[in-house]
Subunit: 147 residues, 2 copies
Amino acid sequence: MKRSRRHSDSLGRASALLRDHGLKKTRPRIDVLSLLLSARKPLSHHEIAGAIPGADKVTVYRVLSSFLEHSIAHRIETGDRVWQFAVCPCGHTEHCHPHFSCRKCGKMECLSDVKLPRWSRLKPGRVVENQEIYLHGLCASCRKEGA
Amino acid sequence: MKRSRRHSDSLGRASALLRDHGLKKTRPRIDVLSLLLSARKPLSHHEIAGAIPGADKVTVYRVLSSFLEHSIAHRIETGDRVWQFAVCPCGHTEHCHPHFSCRKCGKMECLSDVKLPRWSRLKPGRVVENQEIYLHGLCASCRKEGA
DNA sequence: CATGCAAATGCAAGTGAGTTGCAACTGGCG
DNA sequence: CGCCAGTTGCAACTCACTTGCATTTGCATG
């Protein structure tokens, strides 16, 4: 089964990631990290806590914060004052790429392969240390259905 | 005095803008709009309400919402879950341009003249209707001071 | 200029994402 | 095995923003 295979992969990858970053291997951390790994798209705290039966919401916040500190995951803000969290397949720890979300189905994707302008060249003098690019619109499948 | 001249300009422009959009000319609307016009940079609700003595915070939220609805102002989210509001000099009502904020002095600017990639070409199939680009780093003057 | 009323205001109370304090627990080291 | 720094989980908090509702007001109309 594809799904369970991916899930067990995620469990293994989660353990390895925690070990590599010197984080204790605890139940909440394994649960949250393997969920993020198998999701392959950004998830909100609400989605994460909801997908893990019995999860404590504060613990989930703290687990996510520790992932951010260790650059295991990154955080996106989508304009509705709710954070989304993701471990991107590209392995980038800074959210160097744009994120797209569909106004119809709500799905969000990381556009990891998009080339971006060199901000510092465009605006000499400033140093851009961090960026957040958020695109909103219709995804390919919702567009076909006709919105 | 340059400052008061700009302020009275803003008062006149504010009245004109309200009239043009069919909005009643009320005290809170005049106050908020002329403040945004003279600020020439994004301001948070907190900054706006703080700068207008006796302003009711709920009214300020509602005034800002009506400006958004009528595309007089636009709203930016900077990553700290606090909205910023601006009437850009370029006159664009969609926030089509990136915003930059300095991590040292906190100042935020609209980068109205920056050319952006054509998202739809980069990611065929999707329709990008709205974008939010937020850059964070050091502005030119804070960089010189050495941070 | 007086009048009416839809729209706007202002106060109080509510919502919800995220945070803090603190006592109890536990992974993983010696 | 036993320790303890790091982690968890519960309750209570913060704070940006929203909603409900009674009162006021801009402005169109007679």
